[in-house]
Symmetry: C2
Subunit: 195 residues, 2 copies
DNA sequence: GGTAAGTTGAACAGTGCTGTTCGAGTTGCA
DNA sequence: TGCAACTCGAACAGCACTGTTCAACTTACC
C-alpha cells in the first residue's frame, strides 16, 4: 500500500486501480478544475481511503495526472511526421492531437493553481518545445509570418485549442467541426493579412 | 445597511464603500477566480462584516461585480464608431477595449462557476451581440471570411483576447505589444489563408 | 488453501470558508 | 450638537474538505 517507491511487485488490482484513479482524475478535473478527492475516488469506482493509499496528497494526485496526460501527449506527438511543409505539419499536429491537447490543457489549468509555480511549466517544457521548433522552422522557411514573436504564435495555437475545447464543452461547437476550424484559423492567423 | 433596495438615500461613505468593494472584487477575482470574501474585503480596505452589509452573499457580490464590469464594457463599446470598414472597426474595437475586456472575461470566468448556468450568458448577451453584428456585417461585405460560422469567429476573438490577458499576467507578453498582436492576429484569422 | 497485499466504510481531528450576531465605536449629515 | 447610519472586530455555528487511523473484509497470487 505504500505509495510509489520503485513501483515493483504490486498486485495486479492495485496497479489497475492506480490507472482507474488517474483516468478519473483527468476527466473529473477536466469537468471541474477543483474536484474533490471524494469526487475523483467515486468517479474511479474506488474508496477514498484507497486513493490516499496510492497518492499521499491531493496535490500529488494532480501532479501525477498532469504527468500522465502530458506523457500521453508526448507519445502522440512523437509518432507524428512533422517534417516537410510546415503548414501541412501544423495541420497534422492539430487534427491528430487536438482532443488530447484539450484534455491536457484542462488538467494543466487545474494543476496551475494546485502546484508550486514553475512546476507546471517545467513538466510541460519538453512537448512544448517540439511545437516551438515546428513554428520556428516554419518562420525560417517563410511558411509562417515572422513579424510576430514565436512565443505569441505558440500562444495563439495554445489558446485556440483550449478555447475550442471550451466551446465544445459548452455546446457552442460541434466535436466534428472543431479540428478543421482550428487548423484553418491557426494557419490563417500565421499568415500575414493583406490589410 | 440593508443591501440594495431601491438604492436611495444611502450615506456617502456607504455608497463609496460599495464602489471600493466592487473594484476590489473585480481585481481580486481577476487574480484568483475563487478569492475568498475576506480577501476581497481586505483588498477593498473594508471589514468583512461591512461587505456582508452590502451584499447578502458571495454569489450576489460576484454577480454585482459581473454586472458592473459588463456595463463598463458596454459603455466603452457604445462610444466607439464601429461603422465603415469592418476591419478598421475591429481594430478600433480591440485596441480601445482590450484591457477592459480582459478584466471582464476574468470576472466572467469566476462567475461561470459561482452563478447558476445561463445567468452569465444572459447578462453577457447584450454587449456580445454588438460584436456579433460587426462580424456579421464584415462577412456580408466580404471583409471577413464567410466559410466559418459567426459563432466561431466571435469565439476566436474572445479566446485570443482572454489568452493575451493570461499571457500578460504570466509575463509572456508585454502590455504594450498586446493590442497590436491581437488585432493583427484576429484580422489574419478572419482572412482565408491561401493554402 | 493460506497469507500477505489490498480494499473499504466509519469515524476522527484539523482547517478554512461562509454567513450571522452582538456590542462598541465612528462618522455623515441635518 | 445630536442621532441615525454606518463600520468594525470578535466570536459563533455550520459546512465541506483534507488527511489519518482502525478494524473488518475481500482478493490476488504462491
Amino acid at each position: 500500500m505504500s505509495h510509489s517507491g520503485t513501483s515493483q511487485a504490486r498486485r495486479a488490482d492495485a496497479r489497475q486501480n492506480v490507472e482507474k484513479i488517474l483516468d478519473a482524475a483527468i476527466t473529473s478535473l477536466s469537468r471541474n478544475a477543483d474536484a474533490s478527492v471524494s469526487e475523483i475516488a467515486q468517479a474511479a469506482g474506488v474508496g477514498r481511503v484507497t486513493l490516499y493509499g496510492h497518492f499521499p496528497t491531493r496535490d500529488a494526485l494532480i501532479e501525477a495526472a498532469l504527468v500522465r496526460v502530458i506523457s500521453e501527449g508526448e507519445a502522440v506527438l512523437a509518432k507524428l511526421d512533422l517534417s516537410g511543409d510546415p503548414r501541412r505539419a501544423l495541420r497534422v499536429l492539430i487534427e491528430s492531437s487536438w482532443l488530447l491537447i484539450a484534455r491536457a490543457s484542462a488538467v494543466l489549468a487545474a494543476a496551475q493553481t494546485a502546484l508550486p509555480p514553475g512546476r507546471v511549466h517545467q513538466l510541460h517544457a519538453e512537448p512544448a518545445q517540439r511545437v516551438d521548433e515546428l513554428i520556428r522552422r516554419g518562420q525560417a522557411e517563410g511558411a509562417f509570418r515572422d513579424d510576430h514573436p514565436v512565443t505569441w504564435l505558440t500562444s495563439v495555437l495554445h489558446h485556440l485549442l483550449k478555447g475550442a475545447a471550451v466551446d465544445v464543452a459548452n455546446g457552442l461547437l460541434a466535436q466534428a467541426d472543431a479540428p478543421r476550424l482550428i487548423a484553418e484559423t491557426v494557419l490563417a492567423a500565421y499568415t500575414r493579412a493583406d490589410t
